[in-house]
């Protein structure tokens, strides 16, 4: 078994094999997904793929904040809404082409992130989560009841303009009109790929290390020259920009924004958190996998829902919430590093069944000797200890 895993992973290890394989897989995904029996070749299936890509972008950004830096945001649903409205505003009111509108949405969301992250300059701990929670509950209310915002977004062509309802124009690109969900899939795939590549750059560089340092020990990070306030706010801003881009993608996906959209409710922020906890905190592939599983979840629970409706005669609402909560709690107790972490430790266990790792061995020996403070200073470095020392 271990041998087989080694061979398989060795084959996939070189970048020139792994990346082209992944690209082909993603390009062919609209057809590959038809293997799963609940999906047929129709717009619903493709829209599911699109929602997965959108959720992936938010989740990767949130993972930079929560997974890498260790700060919880419950406000990403509201930032996401902000991105959606900003993108919609810039495309239809200002008339910017979609890619530029997306950049504008990202900047707008980044500004929101800046405000949300301000308390981070002064305080650590749960305060940020509290502030973002207030934002998440407040924004949908503001969107749905503010007349000023309503007039900003009012559609002059429609007579029954509701507050907070906003139409997004169809997107055309030179030589490629995005007409249906399959077309949007390739548009979104491009955007998501760019965002993921940017995230990978941040992840493994000085910036990513500084963020992880803050999560592990704020004290030591500070002593090593990491400016806590600056990096915490930076994490918030970057993470918010990802949510903003995702919001812009969503505005194109649905074509019409409504302030009461459940996607903008505070519960959606919990969905984002569930995605990264399920996939693996601090892991980019984890965020994408978690996003995928949570996109499938409502389809999977639909039959259960129907059964409940049939046997008890009640319509079931907010059913997924139960699963979000369950997934969060179960993951924290039994799979704290998510699917990616569980997979990694499984591989490690299979591979090292017979030879424990060198470090583990050292630890084991230290325990056996009863020396927890075994200074590993080699003798040749400092000379022999004098007799009787």
């Amino acid at each position: 078994m271990a041998n087989f895993i080694d061979k398989a992973t060795d084959f996939l290890r070189p970048a020139y094999i792994r990346w082209p394989l992944l690209i082909v897989f993603l390009l062919a995904l609209p057809w590959l997904i038809l293997i799963i029996p609940i999906y047929q070749a129709n717009n619903f299936t493709y829209s599911q793929l699109n929602l997965w890509l959108i959720l992936s972008v938010v989740a990767v950004g949130l993972n930079l904040l929560t997974g890498l830096t260790g700060m919880i945001s419950l406000g990403h649903s509201a930032i996401y809404a902000g991105g959606a409205y900003a993108a919609a505003y810039f495309t239809s009111k200002v008339g910017l082409p979609f890619p530029l509108a997306l950049v504008a949405a990202a900047i707008f969301a980044g500004l929101i992130g800046l405000i949300l992250g301000l308390p981070a300059l002064r305080l650590s701990g749960p305060y940020l989560a509290v502030a973002t929670f207030g934002f998440a509950v407040g924004v949908p209310q503001m969107l749905s009841s503010s007349k000023e915002l309503g007039s900003l977004f009012a559609d002059p062509n429609s007579i029954t303009t509701q507050i907070g309802v906003f139409k997004v124009p169809r997107q055309t690109f030179p030589g490629f009109e995005v007409r249906d969900d399959l077309g949007r899939y390739y548009l979104f795939l491009t955007i998501a790929a760019i965002m993921v590549v940017l995230a990978m750059g941040l992840w493994r560089s000085r910036t990513g290390r500084a963020l992880r340092a803050i999560r592990d020990s704020e004290t030591a990070a500070q002593a090593m020259g990491v400016n806590l306030g600056r990096y915490k706010v930076l994490a918030f801003v970057i993470s918010a920009m990802f949510a903003g881009v995702a919001g812009g993608m969503y505005s194109v996906q649905v074509g019409q924004l409504e302030a009461n959209d459940v996607q903008f409710a505070a519960v959606e922020a919990v969905l984002f958190l569930t995605a990264i906890i399920l996939g693996g905190l601090g892991s980019i592939p984890g965020a994408i996998i978690g996003a995928g599983l949570l996109t499938i979840l409502p389809n999977a629970t639909n039959s259960l829902k129907r059964q409940i409706t049939d046997s008890f005669g009640i319509t079931v609402e907010n059913f997924e919430s139960i699963f979000y909560g369950l997934i969060i709690i179960l993951c924290i107790f039994f799979m704290p590093n998510g699917i990616v972490g569980a997979y990694k430790s499984l591989i490690a266990r299979l591979r090292n069944r017979n030879q424990p790792e060198a470090d583990e061995q050292a630890l084991y020996m230290a325990e056996q000797l009863g020396q927890e403070n075994d200074l590993p200073i080699p003798d040749e470095l400092v000379g022999e200890a004098p007799k009787g020392a």
Binding site: S205, R209, R212, S217, G225, Q371, L375
Partner: protein
């Protein structure tokens, strides 16, 4: 660079700090010359680590000045002192536990790297080059301390002794002028303490660094320190060469008093 032999690298003047009305350190002055190994000793709770925390800017002193290499440290933030050349270790080892030893050292080099978050995100050449350079520099430091075989181990899995060495390496990789060691010998047996003393001397010469250490264990400081300061109840009770300190009645009393407390 011209070495001015008599110039003080660190100069603490009339340091005062109190917590909630309780004076932790009062009217404390000390100076550390370039290239010296200086010890700050005293019984438990004497305020040694508090002085350290004032120098590394985790605490804000209520009064006094801390001059380091011509710069007033009390106006700097805790994240700025390392850029000026002050690195430290912690009494209870504050490593980044979920990372490898090498990554820990790369964070030690954080303030030496100058590229921006944009070149990180776009994976520009300067960002990758800085990382490559940083890694090879970190490996050199690890090799000098003889712990390079642990470079890719997770800190989490390492014995406490190795973790202490890693912490020292992380401070050294920042190329500080002054390294603050907080109780490096805590929990070591006499043989290890002897080795540690030799190591600290080697660190000074190999890394061309000045050492200030807080220590409870008298045997280590007597062996390596060129100048000692003794604190008791937040006040300086003695300073001088190790030999002078050894025979100082006030110091003996302070340490004896502690012994009696332990016996009670």
């Amino acid at each position: 660079m011209t070495m001015t032999e008599n110039q003080n690298l660190l100069e603490v003047q009339n340091l005062e700090i109190s917590f909630g009305g309780l004076k932790a350190v009062s009217d404390f002055s000390m100076s550390v010359k370039r290239g010296q190994i200086v010890g700050l000793i005293g019984p438990n709770g004497a305020g040694k680590t508090t002085v350290f925390n004032c120098i590394s800017r985790f605490y804000r002193p209520n009064g006094g000045r801390i001059m380091f290499d011509g710069v007033e440290l009390t106006r700097k933030g805790a994240d700025e002192v390392i850029k000026l050349g002050v690195a430290r270790t912690f009494q209870n080892v504050e490593l980044f536990k979920s990372m490898t030893v090498l990554e820990n050292l790369l964070i030690g080099e954080h303030s030496r790297m100058k590229h921006t978050v944009f070149s990180d995100a776009l994976m520009l050449p300067d960002s990758r080059q800085a990382d490559r350079k940083g890694s090879s520099r970190a490996m050199e430091v690890l090799a000098t301390l003889g712990i390079d075989k642990y470079a890719n181990s997770l800190v989490l899995n390492l014995p406490f002794g190795v973790q202490k060495m890693v912490e020292m390496a992380r401070a050294l990789v920042a190329e500080p002028k002054l390294i603050l060691l907080d109780e490096p010998a805590a929990g070591s047996n006499p043989n290890e303490t002897y080795k540690l003393a030799a190591l600290i001397k080697r660190i000074r010469s190999d890394f061309n660094v000045t050492v200030l250490l807080v220590e409870h264990d008298m045997s280590l400081v007597m062996d390596i320190c060129e100048q000692l300061y003794v604190l008791d109840f937040g006040k300086k009770i003695a300073e001088g060469l190790p030999k002078e300190i050894q025979n100082n009645p006030a110091v003996i009393e302070a340490y004896l008093g502690e012994k009696e407390e332990v016996l009670d």
